[in-house]
Symmetry: C2
Subunit: 117 residues, 2 copies
């Protein structure tokens, strides 16, 4: 799969994918003419990258996780562990949001919410 099709399927620009290759987030071998050739599983991988980014992981962290997965003896098991870890992060973040929400709700009735606390 060449970069244009990958970009279309993953929903990002070619420039972004070239940038990701530069930082080691994706790998491609080259065709005889020098064009990048990506394996098809790069599509779900890039979608996963987007998801992980939305959860607040930096590209460096995501790249490291990818390496961990490649090194793992049982990929499915490692992925499940990784997802479980992310779910915990989501739960923590939701709890934080809930706390802020409660705080704002409580302050909404006061005269000067920012001065309180």
């Amino acid at each position: 799969m060449r970069i244009g099709e990958l970009a279309a399927q993953a929903g990002m620009t070619k420039d972004t994918i070239r940038f990701y290759e530069k930082v080691g987030l994706v790998a491609a071998h080259r065709l005889a003419n020098g064009y990048r050739d990506f394996p098809p599983e790069t599509v779900p991988w890039l979608r996963y990258v987007r998801t992980a980014q939305r959860l607040g992981f930096s590209l460096a962290e995501i790249a490291r996780h990818g390496e961990d997965l490649r090194d793992a003896p049982d990929t499915a098991e490692a992925l499940s562990a990784l997802f479980a870890e992310k779910i915990q992060i989501i739960d923590a973040r939701m709890a934080e949001l809930g706390a802020l929400r409660a705080e704002l709700t409580a302050r909404a009735g006061t005269g000067c919410p920012l001065r309180a606390s």
Copy 2:
């Protein structure tokens, strides 16, 4: 309150506070000698800034919320509306996280989560 004490109480560096002043996130009047003088409520405000940041708001968004508050400092009604708006944003963000959580939970059990979907 001068910048050093504020920095200590808010848990950030003086440089960060000067930067925040530059981008309009905090305001200070000046003493006769040119030193910045911050009102005491800047401490909870900066703590609030940190919280909002952790929850994914950009400094620009936080600054805009602060301006909205300054534009209607006396109207409890307006304040309630602003907080309600923020709570809506939080709810939307929580819903998004909830969807991601569900997606990850569903994938965690599959043989090859990245290939699924």
